[in-house]
Symmetry: D2
Subunit: 287 residues, 4 copies
Amino acid sequence: MSENNVNAYLLLTCPDQNGIVAKITQFIYQSGGNIIALDEHVNQNQEFFSFRVVWNMKNSNIPASELHAAFEPLAKEFMAHWRIEFSGQKQRVAIFVSKYDHCLQEILWRYNMNEYEIEIPLIISNHPDLKHIADAHNIPYHVFPITKENKQEQEAKEIALLKEHDIDLVVLARYMQVLSPSFIEAYRNKIINIHHSFLPGFVGGNPYKQAYERGVKMIGATSHFVTEDLDEGPIIEQDIMRITHKDTIPDLIRKGRDLERIVLARALSYKAEHRIIVDGTRTIVFD
Amino acid sequence: MSENNVNAYLLLTCPDQNGIVAKITQFIYQSGGNIIALDEHVNQNQEFFSFRVVWNMKNSNIPASELHAAFEPLAKEFMAHWRIEFSGQKQRVAIFVSKYDHCLQEILWRYNMNEYEIEIPLIISNHPDLKHIADAHNIPYHVFPITKENKQEQEAKEIALLKEHDIDLVVLARYMQVLSPSFIEAYRNKIINIHHSFLPGFVGGNPYKQAYERGVKMIGATSHFVTEDLDEGPIIEQDIMRITHKDTIPDLIRKGRDLERIVLARALSYKAEHRIIVDGTRTIVFD
Amino acid sequence: MSENNVNAYLLLTCPDQNGIVAKITQFIYQSGGNIIALDEHVNQNQEFFSFRVVWNMKNSNIPASELHAAFEPLAKEFMAHWRIEFSGQKQRVAIFVSKYDHCLQEILWRYNMNEYEIEIPLIISNHPDLKHIADAHNIPYHVFPITKENKQEQEAKEIALLKEHDIDLVVLARYMQVLSPSFIEAYRNKIINIHHSFLPGFVGGNPYKQAYERGVKMIGATSHFVTEDLDEGPIIEQDIMRITHKDTIPDLIRKGRDLERIVLARALSYKAEHRIIVDGTRTIVFD
Amino acid sequence: MSENNVNAYLLLTCPDQNGIVAKITQFIYQSGGNIIALDEHVNQNQEFFSFRVVWNMKNSNIPASELHAAFEPLAKEFMAHWRIEFSGQKQRVAIFVSKYDHCLQEILWRYNMNEYEIEIPLIISNHPDLKHIADAHNIPYHVFPITKENKQEQEAKEIALLKEHDIDLVVLARYMQVLSPSFIEAYRNKIINIHHSFLPGFVGGNPYKQAYERGVKMIGATSHFVTEDLDEGPIIEQDIMRITHKDTIPDLIRKGRDLERIVLARALSYKAEHRIIVDGTRTIVFD
């Protein structure tokens, strides 16, 4: 069944109880699936159980198209939130940029190397500056200049465009605008931002200037889901690099670019590989 | 059943086939066990399946003392190598040292902090120098001076002592003697060494001098199981630190001590937590 | 002149102008000194010049005892703040502790290894718990229990004790009391603290709990000079380690101990090697 | 003197003696130069003194064009090897590539960001595959296919091309050919390579496969000057990343690309900033 020669990714959360893993893996076994990876996590205080299992469906006796329906009774028994994804079904990603190109270039380079199983049908910006990069990759580039007055209207157009293109994920690749709560609500846990500091340090504007003035010995970058509270969303990935008193603010900006690129790139890969479950203010990133 | 309020650790390897996870987790579920952690790994080329699962036995209907027998039929079905360990059953560890104290001190400090679930019934050395440290911790310290002539005889006495004390694991904490093949054979995959380089670079003697002369920009340390080939055993853990041209050989020795301490300490913790499976020249260290 | 076979350390700051390095190195050359290390830093915005130079005095025609007077005219010409230290003149360090022993043990271990050129004439605590460690190292251990009522009085006694012992540096090795402004004023830029977070993130109490709740992917530790603003003093050294969603708060506490030990140990070594100049809210740590 | 508003970089090595720093900084002071950075290093065993000093010439009374002649008498007094470089005089760099584009893309991206003070007049390859990238940056791309038979002849043409373009530095950005000794001799300490392992581990071909088979827990990359001994030249920069047993050889190749990019990029920046002095098998990389 060549149509079935794909991997299935089940991500599931539910109140903790005995037997969940046994019943789910039994389900997979009986369907003819071959488990490739599995991991669980119990947030003991909250009795919140999370599970990720990946299996190959080459010999599955359930077609991919019927898997959701077949699994549903078990999920109901566990009162679970869950979803099943399939390899080959590329997530559709919209990149938002402003004037800095480094994060965009990094993502597009990896996209061309096929590091991600994603599709990038469009790039959205509040400035025309990076259009040439989109052109070089034959990706449509839409400019929506934002002012205080037109913000609501422009965001409505952006959302319409995202809906039209069936966008699964929005990546803010140094997009220098704060999104409205209604935008965030429309893409809850589906908007990834890169902030150029080691959060929770240095929220808000000019984090490298803040870092210089505080005299830290390392700078960082943080990729997180966007929530209504600026720079407060669940963190997906962080990294740091060592600096010294010799580094000026321009040095920090230049060095920090390398961090921003790699941290956002990793966060996107975790999302593309269906590794992330959001648990309140925290993320579970399965290995 | 308070006697059962322990965690069971199953480590299992076998030829890969479908249904292993389903059947094992079903076994645990039916026994009343509550899974705390599980992870698998398939070495696809060799079709070598590895599995680690930890479950709580508080509500188990199988006493710990009968678990081995209860699981055996399933293990036979999979033609598995396997073992079950229990929390509270402390591994018995013998530390071997020579004259450097830093790795020994680090392990004893963590041992006193109860970071490890181990027992250290004895310390063995080819020199009397570190006896005062053993004394301060009330651990018997046995000196076996080694010469070319007496090596076989002394090692035989050491092995007898290890047997007498039911030693599960030997930790070479900068022990400056090469063990004989017969010693290694007697404790196959049960002897952990710390080598003061980033293996496979700088095998053998004086690795910091070698590192200085080669002009590397980072030094490392490697903890590995001891095999008959010097510094060639399966690697458990490694780490590095950055150095510069300013660092002299004494600087490297001093800085490297911090690496040796932390790398050996981590390797021992992985062993104490039953996380390691040896797969030929490689280790699987479950997360 | 064997009494002169020492290294001199000059640390100097002054308004930037041309010729400072030339004149100072000319002074050293004419005195017969052999430069071992030198580094400068100009904080361009503030025109604040910092300089560190180390030279060997074996062939010096100025005795160590007269060096200060000999250099003074040049320093006055530059309107400099400056000091000269000599190798062999061990800085006198008082360690303050409460109940956690890991930072104290780390410092004492390195002290015994002669990693630092310091003297530790006393350990001060608000609790008797760690006296056995001080005893094992034959270091007097003074207990000053602190309450809201007696704090001023007890601190006065502590300061008297520090003065009596000619203490140059106070190291707060997880000392769980906030020092009064008058104490801090008495030892301005001479009190080093270790805070168990990556500052400026998670100031104040329970930083590991804060880190867990914020869901960061790395934890850190920061060593800084103590000022009147809690956890706001000039940072000397920081480091981080990666964590995952699996780490509970006790895991963070346990793992973080390793960070606290190494970060405080490094900060102390920089101080002992006369590498640090405080520049407002920042430190210059010469390489 | 606007023509003089540049920074001068002096790199000097000579047998160690007293007064070198004093005399050189005095020379700079008298010329009206303002020192921006300076550092020295003495390789004590070999009595090999290295010095780097950077000064601004805005108020210099010696024109840049006459600086070399003006400094020469002092250099002769020290029997020094030395050179003076000026900001604004871009080093001319030739990039050699084969089929992998990641290191080339990284360098070109930074080149376009003006991170380097270099000029890239040409790219040379033994394959036509990456011509489109050179075209997109308007850099001439020369293809010299290499066989055992034509190697000497093709290299001669390459060298002629390098000479014609006044090339100062050759960067092998994953160039999959070993250069002949005569080529290396022609550009002694002027050819930078990136090797995809943490040298001295895994020299030669397929280092990621070697790393997988050895079971290391970290992979690395090393940038070094090319000498006649394969992968044995003086190391400029190294870095590593953590891997696990889950990583397959393709995973290592993919992850390792990120290391290769950053390590080669850093090595090139050190060269572009005149920070490197080669000392036998080691490099001094001034901070």
